[in-house]
């Protein structure tokens, strides 16, 4: 068999140029690398968007309210239907109403060294939306303190603006949590005083937060009876604040949120298009390379058609010739797919390492999908080879 193959090789080799064969393989290699790279890019892109290491806890919570325009002034509250509609959106995992305080309130410090006083308004939200896990975050009518969560921006505003203008000392978060505040509620004429304490600082919602049950109790006792009970703002948890569909939904429903958190949706859309285009280009190039390779096989067989016909005349079975031609054309494909996968592997390793330095985390090895694509490609190339050879031997 070896000697027969050597003779067949001599016959076929002399008829079809080795240079053309190498060129066809180079074309196919480039296409395979591009396609595998496109698949790997998609995987990396997905990892960057959804990987736990890359998620921003702040960005996952958005506070939504109606955009205030001439039409919505005074009617900014959200109806039950509107809230139900928000809850129905697939990109929102959970939705909680923010309840505003509908009574006057002020806080002041008891300390002589820290003569601080300000009118204030509170908001509350169901506990699952709070990012402070603190045993003090509970209240009932017998509680000694009213727990309060203060936005970090407030403390920054106090420390870097207000304290200078009022000649007050700057406060660290630890000190703020130690200060006992006097909270005064006013609604039905009689001021109601209680002690309050800051139990945490948060970036999630930029309001002075109090427990929900305190808010319900206080609104019941101090708010005007005919007041508006409907919430004006809701807090939502979402996997992906940059989701373009989310942004589109907000725009079409006249809702706004922190633009900082959603502005990446535009960039993401662009990157998404680029990644998709690279995948399409890869597929087109592969189709083109396969075409070239198929044509090359046809050309090779055509250029030694006389020899093949004579071999068949002498008794070589088409099966023998098919095996011989497959042995000649297919193994180089295994090598180029393998090399292409190794190239992707090395590129991914260095890409992973490089991005890690920038605190961006992607896997440092090629994905399963890339390997799977490589194997599928090999199968496709094998089938194309087999089909071309079989058709031509007829």
């Amino acid at each position: 068999m070896k000697q027969l193959n050597r003779l067949l090789h001599k016959l076929i080799y002399n008829s079809a140029g080795q240079a053309r064969f190498v060129m066809a393989l180079v074309g196919l290699s480039v296409a395979i690398i591009l396609l595998l790279m496109a698949v790997q890019l998609q995987v990396n892109y997905y990892q960057l968007l959804n990987g736990k290491n890359n998620q921003d806890s702040v960005a996952n919570f958005l506070v939504l309210n109606k955009e205030l325009t001439n039409e919505t002034v005074g009617a900014s509250s959200l109806s039950e239907k509107e809230i139900a509609n928000i809850k129905a959106q697939p990109f929102f995992e959970s939705v909680g109403s923010l309840t505003p305080s509908r009574f006057k309130a002020s806080i002041q410090s008891n300390s002589e060294r820290f003569p601080f006083y300000t009118d204030i308004a509170f908001e509350s939200v169901p506990a699952e939306f709070i990012d402070i896990n603190n045993k003090d975050w509970q209240w009932d009518e017998t509680s000694a303190f009213l727990p309060i969560i203060v936005p970090n921006q407030f403390l920054d505003f106090y420390n870097f603006q207000f304290s200078f203008s009022q000649n007050l000392p700057q406060l660290t978060p630890q000190v703020v949590k130690m200060v006992v505040l006097k909270v005064t509620l006013q609604g039905n004429g009689t001021p109601y005083e209680m002690k309050g304490r800051v139990v945490g600082l948060s970036n999630r919602i930029s309001s002075m937060m109090v427990p929900q049950n305190f808010m319900d109790w206080a609104n019941k006792h101090f708010a005007p009876i005919d007041g508006n009970n409907k919430p004006s703002r809701v807090v939502v948890r979402t996997k992906d604040p940059g989701n373009p569909a989310l942004k589109k939904y907000l725009q079409s429903n006249g809702l706004i949120t922190d633009a900082e958190k959603t502005r990446f949706s535009r960039y993401r859309q662009i990157v998404g298009y680029v990644v998709n285009i690279s995948a399409i280009t890869g597929v087109l190039l592969l189709a083109f390379a396969l075409l070239i390779f198929t044509l090359f096989i046809q050309l090779t067989i055509a250029s030694c058609k006389d020899e093949i016909q004579l071999l068949v005349l002498l008794g070589a079975s088409p099966k023998q010739l098919r095996i011989f031609l497959m042995k000649r054309f297919f193994p180089p494909n295994i090598i180029i797919v393998f090399i292409a996968f190794i190239v992707i592997g090395i590129t991914q390793f260095f890409l992973g390492y490089w991005l890690q330095q920038k605190q961006i985390y992607v896997a440092s090895y090629p994905s399963f999908y890339t390997l799977f694509t490589a194997l599928v490609l090999l199968l496709v190339i094998g089938l194309v080879n087999f089909k071309t050879i079989t058709n031509y031997l007829k």
Partner: protein
């Protein structure tokens, strides 16, 4: 291996066969194992067509050819390949050698298609008998037609066969070389209990023919 021809009429000879009769065409004819058959006919009467039809290169005919009772038309490509490797050998009129391969490579290629039948030593011995030993390493494209004919005859003898088909195999050989080649062919056929079909223009006494037919 028994070959039967049942009313075989090639399309190309259809009109001509309406005007005259033939020992082979449009009749029933059986070629029995071990028979030596001579087909003698002038040019253009279908000698090559006959041999090509038996070798299943041409399928443009009406009627039927049976090989051991099985229709030649119904053989699959793989069965046909098997038949050409083990049962039917041929010396083409136009020889059909690979001009870029040496004489030895041409012969070796055929030998390797049905391996373990003929040894290399046997090839060398047969080459010596035919007087072409010195040509074995030469490309056949550079050999004279008479030399190529002997190479083609040798190639046909390196495989097992039940029938040897030859189309004007000695047309470019001198009498001495014809005698050597015919003796070798005869002994190889006898060794295999094989028959032969030889098509030629003239009558001859190269072999002890069982039947002589004209077209």
């Amino acid at each position: 291996m028994r070959i039967e021809l049942k009313q075989v009429v090639p399309f190309v000879l259809k009109d001509r066969l309406l005007q005259k009769t033939s020992d082979v065409w449009n009749t029933n004819l059986a070629l029995l194992p071990g028979e030596y058959i001579k087909i003698q006919a002038p040019s253009g009467t279908g000698k090559t067509t006959f041999l090509n039809t038996l070798y299943s290169i041409r399928k443009d005919y009406t009627g039927n050819i049976l090989i051991d009772g099985k229709s030649l038309q119904e053989l699959s490509v793989d069965e046909l390949a098997q038949m050409r490797q083990h049962k039917l050998s041929v010396v083409f009129q136009n020889l059909q050698l690979f001009p870029n391969l040496s004489a030895f490579e041409n012969i070796e290629l055929k030998r390797l298609l049905s391996p373990s039948y003929c040894s290399k030593e046997k090839i060398e011995w047969m080459a010596e008998t035919l007087g072409i030993t010195q040509l074995l390493q030469q490309k056949t494209g550079t050999c004279s037609y008479g030399e190529q004919q002997r190479i083609a005859i040798l190639r046909a003898l390196v495989q097992p066969f039940n029938w040897l088909l030859m189309d004007e195999p000695f047309s470019h050989l001198d009498d001495r070389n014809i005698a050597k080649a015919a003796a070798l062919i005869d002994s190889e056929c006898k060794a295999r209990n094989a028959g032969l079909v030889i098509a030629d223009l003239e009558a001859d006494k190269h072999f002890n023919y069982t039947h002589q037919y004209s077209l």
